[in-house]
Every structure is written in structure tokens, then in C-alpha cells.
């Protein structure tokens, strides 16, 4: 029979303080689990009242450095990490000098290549210097991220590539977003959207009432410099009765959005096509409302009006856009869609159904056809 160790007399507030619920975006990637039931540390250490987190404002969290002099292994570890950090910063200084020397010289292809190599090396060193720092790791884990620093950019990109990105790609390929709307997708940007201040997983079904107002878009890029992006929202599953096929419908178009690692919202763009709320008609299967973020390789796009009959592929090739991020959600007809047609769109609501089945055993008048088999006697 197991005997439980007696709980120490810890102030109730310490037991009550829960780990802040992490947003959808961050998955707990540890294998060792934090045991929240016991606030008792390991045997060789003594609880000091300073260690317990007693925050006055529970919303704001700050890293508390672990006191030295208790765990010798930890002390040595910290010492070594800080030493390594100093070394790395020395190397960064040297590289900075080299870069300065190059900037005085003329820029030809060779020098550009060498500068690129130097900048890559500098980025790597900057990341390596800070990535082992426990404060940085704690900050990242608790969503206190400063994207202007290379470490956080690196950690975020790494986390995105290991968790949310494979999931997104799986959903996109399973739902055939890739061949239907985009020819190919190799995302370098994490495109996310929120309905009612809640992040939505790619591919999830949404209720039409919820999507009447445009979603809050978050474009998480990993480059320092500001680049111009185009955002589109497209529904590829609108029925085309004449061609007995489907047609694409445009829902949203914003061009010339300045985006960088530190600027993640879509302000500052030209809204060419105002947001049209999704309206899947009755009788059709679910619709995939896809959002795409394209990098404008030709700089600013001057556009006054949108040709709504244009295909996505044509649009992309016309303006030399490069697909950098995509996501989607799905919707199906609801009673609220009728009100959207009436109030928001002001058009007659179409109701689709399958074409009538032809019964081959009845002739034109509706009577039963004579038997096809000749009777033999």
C-alpha cells in the first residue's frame, strides 16, 4: 500500500495559482509532465518563501530567476551557459566588423553572396547565444514573445513547423484545397484567423451567423523587413449549373498590406473587394472558404476594381504573386444563410438539388415499358 507524503503547510494562494491556459497555437511539447498537485520540490531543496509565486496582478507574468547556491549542478549549468553566451557575442562582434568592411566596398555578385553568408552566420550565432537562457525559454513558453529578437523568431518558426504546420498541410491536402484553388503550397508564413476572438483550426466547420463579420487575420511572418502582401478569400464550391460544374466566388481582397515579423495584423492595406459573408446555398455540400496570403514580388499593386469572373490562378500570374500562407474553414447551409441572402446580399436565395432520376423502365408517357426479353415457348 502506498503512503502519500503529507502536504506541507503551503499558503492556499500558491495552490490556487494555475498555469495560464496556453492559446491553441502553443502545444506543450514536454515529455516530463509538470505535477501540479504537489508544490513540494525535490528532497535536497528547502522551500523559501521567495520561490513561491505570489503575484499581485495575475494577468502579468514575469520570469523569476531561480536562486543559486541550492543545486550545484544548476549553478554550474548557468555558469557555463552564460560563458557560452559571452563567447557567442564576441563572435557576433567579429562578424559585425567583417560586415562593416564589406559595406565600404562595391556591391557585386560575389560580395553579395559573401554578405548573405555572413548574415546567416550572424543570425545563427544570435539564436545560439540566447536559446539556452532559461529566461528566454520561459518567456517563449508563456507567450511573452518579442519578434524583433532572432531567438524568438527562431523558436516560433521551429514550433510552428513541428506542430501546427503539418496539421494544416494534412487538412489542406485532404480537402483538396491545393489542386482546386492553389496549384502548390509551401508556406513560409503562419496565416491564422479568429472568429469572435477565438482562433479557428484550419478546416473546421463554422456556423454562418458567426462569419457574417470578417475574421481577425493574424499573419505571422518570420522576416524582419517589411514586405507587401495580398490577402484573398475564395469559395471554390459555388455551383455552376450551365457547365454542370463548380465555380469560384470571391469573398475578400486586400492588397498592399505591409507585413513583417513585428507587424502581424492586416491594417494598412487597400481593400479592393469588401468582405462578403459566406453563404453556402441549400442543396450543395459543404463549402471550403479559403484564405490565401500572397507576397507581392513586384512591389505595390495599383488596382481599383476587381474582375469577379477571374480565376485565382489568373489573378496570381497577372500580378506576379507568390503564395506564402493559406488556411481555410468549412460551412454548410443553415437557416441563418437565408437571412444573409435577404439582409446582407439582397439577392434571391438559390436552392439546388440533384437532377431528376430517369427511370428506364417507364416510357415517355409514364407507362411501364414492354418487356425487353422475347418469350420463348
Amino acid at each position: 500500500m502506498l503512503l502519500r507524503p503529507a502536504k506541507r503547510a503551503i499558503p492556499a494562494i500558491a495552490r490556487l495559482i494555475q498555469f495560464r491556459t496556453l492559446p491553441n497555437f502553443f502545444i506543450n511539447f514536454r515529455t516530463l509532465k509538470i505535477d501540479e498537485s504537489t508544490t513540494k520540490p525535490l528532497a535536497e531543496e528547502v522551500i523559501q518563501s521567495n520561490d513561491l509565486v505570489t503575484e499581485k496582478e495575475i494577468g502579468v507574468k514575469k520570469y523569476k530567476t531561480i536562486p543559486l547556491g541550492i543545486n550545484p549542478a544548476y549553478d554550474e549549468a548557468i555558469k557555463y551557459i552564460l560563458q557560452d553566451k559571452a563567447n557567442k557575442y564576441q563572435q557576433i562582434k567579429q562578424i559585425d566588423e567583417q560586415i562593416n568592411n564589406f559595406s565600404k566596398a562595391e556591391l557585386n555578385d560575389e560580395i553579395i553572396k559573401e554578405l548573405e553568408v555572413l548574415h546567416k552566420r550572424k543570425y545563427l550565432l544570435q539564436v545560439q547565444a540566447e536559446v539556452n537562457d532559461p529566461e528566454v525559454r520561459w518567456n517563449f513558453k508563456n507567450d511573452i514573445i518579442d519578434m524583433s529578437k532572432p531567438v524568438y523568431r527562431h523558436l516560433k518558426e521551429k514550433h510552428w513547423k513541428s506542430g501546427p504546420l503539418p496539421k494544416l498541410m494534412e487538412r489542406i491536402t485532404q480537402m483538396y484545397v491545393v489542386p482546386d484553388i492553389f496549384p502548390d503550397l509551401e508556406p513560409t508564413m503562419c496565416l491564422e484567423f479568429k472568429f469572435d476572438d477565438e482562433f479557428v483550426e484550419p478546416g473546421r466547420f463554422q456556423r454562418p451567423i458567426r462569419t457574417i463579420n470578417p475574421p481577425t487575420i493574424v499573419m505571422n511572418s518570420f522576416h524582419v523587413e517589411t514586405r507587401l502582401y495580398t490577402l484573398i478569400m475564395v469559395d471554390p464550391d459555388m455551383p455552376d449549373v450551365e457547365n454542370k460544374s463548380f465555380q469560384m466566388q470571391w469573398h475578400w481582397l486586400i492588397t498592399n498590406i505591409p507585413i513583417s515579423a513585428t507587424k502581424i495584423d492586416i491594417s494598412g492595406g487597400n481593400e479592393i473587394l469588401k468582405y462578403v459573408p459566406p453563404h453556402p446555398p441549400k442543396g450543395t455540400k459543404y463549402h471550403r472558404y479559403t484564405l490565401g496570403a500572397f507576397e507581392q514580388s513586384n512591389g505595390k499593386i495599383e488596382m481599383s476594381k476587381m474582375d469577379l469572373k477571374m480565376n485565382v490562378r489568373e489573378f496570381v500570374s497577372q500580378h506576379n504573386l507568390i503564395l506564402r500562407g493559406a488556411t481555410f474553414f468549412r460551412e454548410v447551409w443553415d437557416k441563418d444563410v437565408s437571412s444573409i441572402y435577404k439582409d446582407q446580399l439582397g439577392i434571391h436565395e438559390p436552392i439546388y438539388s440533384k437532377p431528376p432520376k430517369i427511370d428506364h423502365y417507364l416510357d415517355e408517357t409514364g407507362k411501364k415499358r414492354p418487356s425487353k426479353f422475347i418469350e420463348t415457348l
Binding site: L32, L42, I66, A77, Y80, N132
Partner: protein
């Protein structure tokens, strides 16, 4: 109408008996390991199942948030230490290779016999006789804790016996093998 059954019936009874005996009999189902009809009374299956499904999972230590952070920091510092060591070794090797390469290039410019022999290298690799090969048992005389390496002064004779020739290679010829002392010097 003839069918293939008629061929068999044409055979004599003795030959049919021979055929029946030569046909290979398949293993009974209970003997095939892993099959559902296997011999359940065989204890080996029980033992295997117990090992697979009933051995207790090793319990991970219960850590608080702070403990986990400390553990991670220590782990990262150790891995960083090993990584730095590895990088140092790699850089050393790279530098050595670079120097070797440069030396060879310089030698090539001289266009000498030395360069050609350097490129050919030593095709016949011979291990020195006195090189220690790992043995399964320790030596009978034990470990010489009082060993002192030969002095670095080149004028001083390395061996106490002046009649003996000076060792050209201090590693090769410093200590004669015990078997050599028994040999009759020619």
C-alpha cells in the same frame, strides 16, 4: 466427355498409394506458432504476454515547474558542452587538413621527388612490433606505477647501457620486450 478425374482413376491402386504417401503433409495448426489454434498450454506464450503487457511502466519523477526548468537547463548546458567539444575537435581536424593541403601544394611547386613520394604515401602499412595490442588478461608483472618517461635532453644517453645503440624512436625502442632478453644476441 473426358474430365481430369478420369486420368486419376486410370492409375493402379499401388501407384495411387505411393502418390498419397509422397504428398507432403502440412503442419497441424496447433504447431504453427502465433496461430489462434496454437497450443495454449505452452507456457512460453504466457510468459511472453506477461512481459509484453504486464510489466509496470517506469514511473517518471514528479517534478514541479521549477524543478523541470532546472532539469532542462542542466540538460541543455551538458549538451552544449558536448557540442562545443565536438566543434573544437572538428575545427582542429579541419585546420590540420587545410595545413596538410597547403603544404602539399607548396611542395608541388618545387616539383621534386619528395612531392611524388608524398603523394604515393606508404602503401605498405606495418604496425610496430612493440605496439600494445589489447589483451584479455592483465600482464603478470602488473602496472608499472613508477615509470618515468625518458628525459627530453637529447645529449644525455637514453639508456643506462652505453654499449647498446641509442633508440631512434623513443616510443618504439625504449623498452625491450621481456622475451628479447632471453634471446642469444647474435
Amino acid at each position: 466427355m473426358t474430365n481430369h478425374f478420369s486420368y486419376r482413376s486410370a492409375l493402379s491402386t499401388s501407384i495411387r498409394g505411393l502418390l498419397a504417401r509422397t504428398v507432403k503433409k502440412s503442419k497441424p495448426k496447433s504447431e504453427i506458432p502465433g496461430s489462434q489454434n496454437a497450443n495454449i498450454t505452452d507456457t512460453r506464450y504466457q510468459i511472453i504476454k506477461r512481459i509484453l503487457y504486464e510489466t509496470p511502466k517506469p514511473e517518471l519523477p514528479k517534478m514541479t515547474e521549477q524543478d523541470l526548468e532546472k532539469h532542462e537547463t542542466i540538460d541543455r548546458a551538458w549538451k552544449l558542452f558536448l557540442r562545443n567539444q565536438q566543434e573544437e575537435r572538428e575545427n582542429e581536424l579541419a585546420a590540420k587538413y587545410r595545413m596538410l593541403n597547403e603544404a602539399n601544394l607548396e611542395l608541388e611547386k618545387l616539383g621534386s621527388r619528395l612531392f611524388n613520394s608524398a603523394q604515393i604515401g606508404n602503401k605498405i602499412m606495418m604496425f610496430p612490433r612493440q605496439m600494445k595490442i589489447p589483451t584479455e588478461t592483465p600482464p603478470l608483472n602488473g602496472w608499472n606505477y613508477d615509470y618515468k618517461p625518458p628525459s627530453s635532453d637529447p645529449t644525455k644517453p637514453l639508456s643506462s647501457d652505453p654499449t647498446k645503440p641509442l633508440p631512434s624512436d623513443p616510443i618504439k625502442d625504449s623498452e625491450p620486450l621481456p622475451s628479447d632478453s632471453n634471446k642469444v644476441s647474435s
